[in-house]
């Protein structure tokens, strides 16, 4: 009796994928660039910022200013549990938005950086 080739392929793939774990973790809400574009320096006030972006994750105070911080973390974690050797990698990147408000609660500056679009499922525990 011949062993069907397709069965062999399915069996091989199943064996290779055995112990393979792929997981994704997210913290916070993604910062929507569309909402950011509606914030005008020198015009938008604190209340409008909250309407557009929601309540800040953190408020930093000082220099007669208030800074609203919004953050979002995205993590991709591949793992290979081979029995003899288990390899687990956890890649995390962050997006952060800082909205600088003056004494009157008007937006003076915006600082936004996005990294989460480059987070990858890379299983590489060694190396740099």
């Amino acid at each position: 009796m011949r062993f069907p080739r397709s069965t062999a392929v399915i069996l091989a793939v199943a064996l290779l994928l055995q112990g393979c774990i792929v997981s994704r973790w997210r913290v916070g809400n993604p910062i929507e660039e569309e909402s950011l574009s509606q914030i005008q320096k020198g015009a938008t006030d604190r209340d409008q910022v909250v309407v557009l972006l929601g309540a800040p994750d953190r408020i930093i105070q000082g220099n007669d200013k208030e800074i609203f911080q919004y953050y979002y973390y995205d993590a991709k974690s591949p793992a290979l549990l081979l029995g003899l050797l288990n390899i687990i990698t956890f890649n995390v990147k962050s997006d952060n938005l800082y909205v600088f408000l003056d004494k009157g609660g008007i937006v003076r500056d915006l600082v936004f950086g996005k990294r989460t679009d480059t987070v990858e499922f890379t299983l590489r525990p060694w190396g740099k």
Partner: protein, 139 residues
């Protein structure tokens, strides 16, 4: 000759069982910032947003006097463990845990000091940690 064959098999089985719960883990938080990537910064001219456009946003901003300090942070964690308890799987219905493990975390920082208008006044790297390597012997 036959004894040698048996011994060989036992040693291989023992080694397989010994490393059967060897784990290596790595956690990467953000991309490292290299000194060479900062050549575009000119103090007194470059703004914080220009730095953020190239390096991503800082993890924290603190205020001090009339200045802002932006802290960029990235880290690498490496962890490894070896559970010798699995050797007992052959003779015992329960598997005790006899684990040797080590974890090292490198947290690195890049600080940018900005004035009230978010123009860069100075910048510096924090001291580099060198703990993140795979280590099975904790003693």
């Amino acid at each position: 000759m036959r004894l040698w064959g048996w011994l060989h098999s036992v040693v291989i089985l023992f080694l397989c069982l010994t490393i059967s719960s060897c784990s290596v883990r790595r956690v990467n938080f953000n991309e490292p910032i290299a000194g060479g990537a900062l050549t575009f910064i000119t103090t007194g001219e470059t703004t914080l947003q220009q730095i953020v456009d190239r390096l991503g946003a800082p993890e924290d901003i603190i205020t001090t006097g009339d200045q802002f300090i932006a802290e960029f942070k990235w880290s690498t964690t490496r962890s490894s463990s070896l559970d010798f308890g699995h050797v007992f799987k052959v003779v015992s219905p329960v598997t005790p845990s006899m684990t040797l493990s080590g974890t090292g975390i490198n947290v690195e920082r890049f600080l940018v000091i900005c004035d009230d208008r978010l123009i860069v006044r100075s910048y510096a790297f924090g001291k580099v940690d060198e703990h993140a390597f795979f280590e099975f012997w904790p003693f």
